[in-house]
């Protein structure tokens, strides 16, 4: 593998990690709003969210910084084209995080604050997903001196809405699944029942939206549809992983209960990994079609090696800390069961 390929694989890894963590994070905000009155389920969602949202946010920053560092030229083009949607995401993010911490402090206005953070939890991923169809080409206006994004054309395209629908259904499915597992770990039957039911409804929706997205691609994006056909084996594997994860929600337990949520979460994450690997491979060699390829957007080798060293050292130092974090907030019964 040459250096630019290694770099894009690292970026892909970060997109993947953030899409998992971000989905769970924003989804948990949404579920905390929906199940506000079902005290147990809402509490479980908030219990996960309180210590974790800051850490999740750092992964977003990690993604932005790594993209700008490994592919400075592509980041410049993406930024120029996407300035309006990305700024809207940033504004919503600011509002959401602020209201999240406000609501931890000011219980009296909890409901209003809760709704704000819940709704932004839907809007932010929706807007973030709109980056995908834009990188496929077709929406960018090259008539002027510099490429720009006519928002009218983007927002009147069915392809955009298919992407957004797909992103939202995956977000809600994954977060429901994760929270089902979290409630199971907390031995909270009532919350587990609610989240399991939500996941059962959302799983097939997500799969259906994925197909719909592929069918509504704009003509300019047909290059990726063709490439994706070549990745068919990976997509098939991914569907198989989904099947395992989804049915795991019904497997009988020895104690008489239904479902192995841990198996379901792991399989569905594997499914998303396989599918997004296949999608990423089909996206190569373009970062933004047809303006920027992996090779042309790449930084120099000296910078690449320094950055690589930084990631290796950083990962080694932080793995134990992440393990500690996981022990304290995702495993420790004293935290999971606090009232």
């Amino acid at each position: 593998m040459d250096n630019s390929t290694i770099a894009i694989v690292i970026i892909w890894g970060m997109v993947f990690i953030y899409s998992i963590l971000g989905s769970i994070d924003f989804g948990a905000g949404f579920w905390a709003m929906v199940y506000k009155t079902d005290a147990n389920a809402g509490k479980i969602a908030n219990r996960y969210l309180s210590p974790s949202w800051e850490v999740t946010n750092v992964f977003l920053v990690l993604l932005v910084v790594s993209l700008a560092a490994f592919f400075p030229h592509s980041a410049g083009i993406l930024g120029t084209i996407l300035i309006v949607p990305v700024c809207l995401v940033l504004l919503l993010l600011l509002i959401r995080s602020a209201f999240l911490v406000y609501s931890f402090s000011v219980k009296a206005y909890g409901r209003v604050l809760n709704i704000v953070s819940g709704l932004t939890g839907l809007l932010i991923p929706g807007l973030l997903v709109s980056v995908l169809p834009v990188t496929l080409g077709g929406f960018i206006d090259t008539a002027g001196e510099h490429p720009s994004l006519p928002l009218g054309r983007l927002f009147s395209s069915p392809s955009l809405y298919a992407h957004v629908g797909f992103g939202l259904s995956v977000e809600l499915f994954l977060s429901a699944l994760f929270l089902a597992d979290y409630s199971h770990e907390a031995e909270n039957r009532e919350a587990y029942r609610l989240f399991r039911r939500a996941a059962i409804g959302l799983g097939p929706t997500a799969l259906g939206m994925a197909l719909l997205t592929a069918f509504t691609m704009v003509p300019e994006a047909h290059w990726i549809v063709e490439n994706m056909q070549r990745q068919a084996p990976w997509f098939l594997l991914s569907v198989a992983a989904f099947a395992v994860g989804y049915t795991a929600l019904w497997w009988k337990r020895r104690d008489g209960g239904h479902g192995f949520p841990r198996v379901a979460v792991i399989s569905v994450v594997a499914q998303l990994g396989l599918a997004s690997y296949a999608y990423g491979a089909a996206h190569m060699p373009y970062i933004v079609y047809p303006f920027s390829t992996v090779e042309r957007g790449f930084t120099n080798d000296a910078m690449f090696y320094s950055l690589l060293g930084g990631y290796v050292v950083g990962a080694l130092v932080f793995l134990p800390v992440f393990y500690l974090f996981w022990r304290l907030f995702l495993k420790d019964k004293r935290y999971l069961k606090t009232e």
């Binding site: 946010n57 400075p72 030229h73 410049g76 940033l90 931890f104 004293r334």
Partner: protein, 441 residues
Amino acid sequence: MDQVTLARALFGSSMAFHIIFATLGVGVPLMIAAAETLFQIKKDKDYETMAKRWTKGFAVLLGVAIPSGTIVGTMLTLLWPGFMEIVGQVIALPFQIEIFAFFLEALFMSIYVYAADRLSPGMRILSVTLVALGASASAVLITDAQAWMNTPQGFRYDNGVVTDVHPWQAFFNPSFFVTAGHVLVSAYMTGAFAIASIGAYQLLRGRHSERVFAYHRKGLFLGLAIGGIMSLLTALNGHETAQMLHKHQPEKLAASEGLFHTTAYAPLVVFGTPDPEVGEVVGGIKLPWMLSFLATNRFDGVVKGLYDYPREDWPPLYVHTLFNLMVGIGTLLIGYALLAVLYRYIRKRPFPRWLLLLFLTGGPLAMIGIETGWIFSCSARQPWTIYHIQRTSEAAIKSGNLGMLFVLFLSIYAVLLVLTVLVLTFYFRRHPVSAVLDKTT
């Protein structure tokens, strides 16, 4: 406004917003760590209460610091694509390492707040120290990027092409250590004076039990003590920073002092308006020979004036006022700390009301010092984004709806400033310290 001006306005105001929360995010953890440590040493419960309450406020501030930092970080790529293309090739390291500082702070902040009851005292001090360390490291690292913009090195740049890159040379650029030191100590002093302001406010309000008064006196004095030390360090290090400017960015120093003619025995002029037609500062207070001394440590040192540079490379002249404000505030706050020492240790009297009123202004003044200092540093670099390498007009985004975005961002910043103050006031009114203190005695 044209595209470049709009980009500057949008970015500058976003930075000015982030810096409020970010600076407190660096300064307050140090105060929390100090209070936790005092509690473990003196076994005085008041300090534990302080640490807890400051942490509560800090968590709210962090809720705004983090997303607003995410905003400026992303905006850097959005608004300055030309700049980021060079950054990505030359000075990406501090940005990358900073991420790990963020992880450190975010992870241990959650551990300190949500797992406090499950931690041993030693682990508690360790977590809060790591939070403070993470915040300080993130300030140092981002300042490295800024220092490199002022004194760029570690690469060659010809005809828009970057070659011969040495990432670590860029990292250890000549102004890194002084500037990072200045940013750190000024942030600590701001956090400390902010805490002192709150203490002064509570003492002025009266209507407390003696127990509560004692608590606030301890908080006030801790703030003044750390604030005083840090303001001394800030001034000492600021002097070194000015000498760095003399060596590496003479136009900037000249603009900050309104010096037009290159000369030995250059005077320091406080306030007034630099007038390029007259060739000096009009209406200021002149301290003869002092600028030469400040810049070179000797009265006959030669300091360069603006006339040595082409007019289109001059920084804006209003930076003189910004610089005066920062230095003036620094001097004033050292005075505050001296007064505190005088009353407490020499006259051995409680602080009189007028002094408490002065202390009340310390926090806001320090914050103004931070704001003017940063706006000075960034504006006096103009017209360059990367000093003598890239002009701001070459760095800026070429298309996009910036006007609408500018209005949108400004209004949200204003709303969040107000809301944050309201939330903090509401919370601390609802949970007065008297309730905690009466329980523990």
